[in-house]
């Protein structure tokens, strides 16, 4: 499985500001995914990031709020813009391992608190 790192691991931010989260993978992957996990809740897919194309956003998530970059096959960023306390969550990136099992592997997450 791929080794995935995220930066920062956690942050405390003021409302109205923006935070960019980085996701780095140790091998080239076609598809990367960004999820949100609100406190005590399950995971919700924000968007799929493919290299060389615009990210595909899920219902309820928009590019202006969560712009995503995917400049190459090992790296992606997610920006949480104009933050409010409701954005306090864990943000996780994942990558797909495609073959017989098509399993996604998850990064360590970024714990965001918005005051």
């Amino acid at each position: 499985s791929a080794v995935i790192s995220q930066k920062p691991s956690r942050d405390i931010c003021q409302r109205g500001t923006s935070l960019t989260i980085q996701c780095q993978v140790d091998s080239q992957v076609t598809m990367m995914f960004w999820y949100r996990q609100q406190p005590g809740q399950s995971l919700t897919l924000i968007a799929t990031a493919n290299q060389g194309s615009e990210a595909t956003y899920e219902s309820g998530f928009v590019i202006d709020k969560f712009p995503i970059s995917r400049p190459n096959l090992t790296f992606s960023t997610l920006t949480v813009s104009n933050m409010s306390p409701e954005d306090s969550s864990i943000y996780l990136c994942s990558v797909g391992s495609y073959g017989a099992t098509d399993t996604q592997y998850f990064g360590p997450g970024t714990r965001l608190t918005v005051l």
Partner: protein, 110 residues
């Protein structure tokens, strides 16, 4: 769209006991996954179930899939404290979109 439900949401059990976590899903899912999440940590892949009747076992955990009933189970045998964690099942909508269940928070008491 695919919906995934787990029960129970919370499970407190004594060491040495057996228990089962249930994962129901609403429409066809090509694959069914089980993940473990420790507090403050990311998700660890446990099992992937690919076909009807599939059974996978690792240590004290055994997962099974019944596609006709749209049901997967995670059975815990002789629980130990180290198994305390939150367990998620996830189905797949389309090719790669994971839909996660609500999670089951398991606490094993010594």
């Amino acid at each position: 769209e695919l919906k995934v439900e787990q029960n129970p949401l919370f499970l407190s059990m004594q060491e040495g006991k057996n228990y089962t976590i249930y994962c129901n899903y609403s429409t066809t899912s090509d694959r069914l996954y089980w993940y473990r999440q420790d507090p403050g940590k990311s998700l660890e892949s446990l099992f992937v179930l690919l076909s009807n009747g599939a059974v996978k076992q690792e240590g004290r955990l055994m997962a099974s899939l019944d596609t006709k009933a749209r049901l997967s189970t995670l059975h815990i045998t002789a629980a130990v404290h180290d198994l305390s964690a939150t367990y998620f099942c996830a189905g797949v909508s389309g090719t790669y979109k994971y839909i996660f269940g609500t999670g089951t928070r398991l606490k094993v008491l010594a």
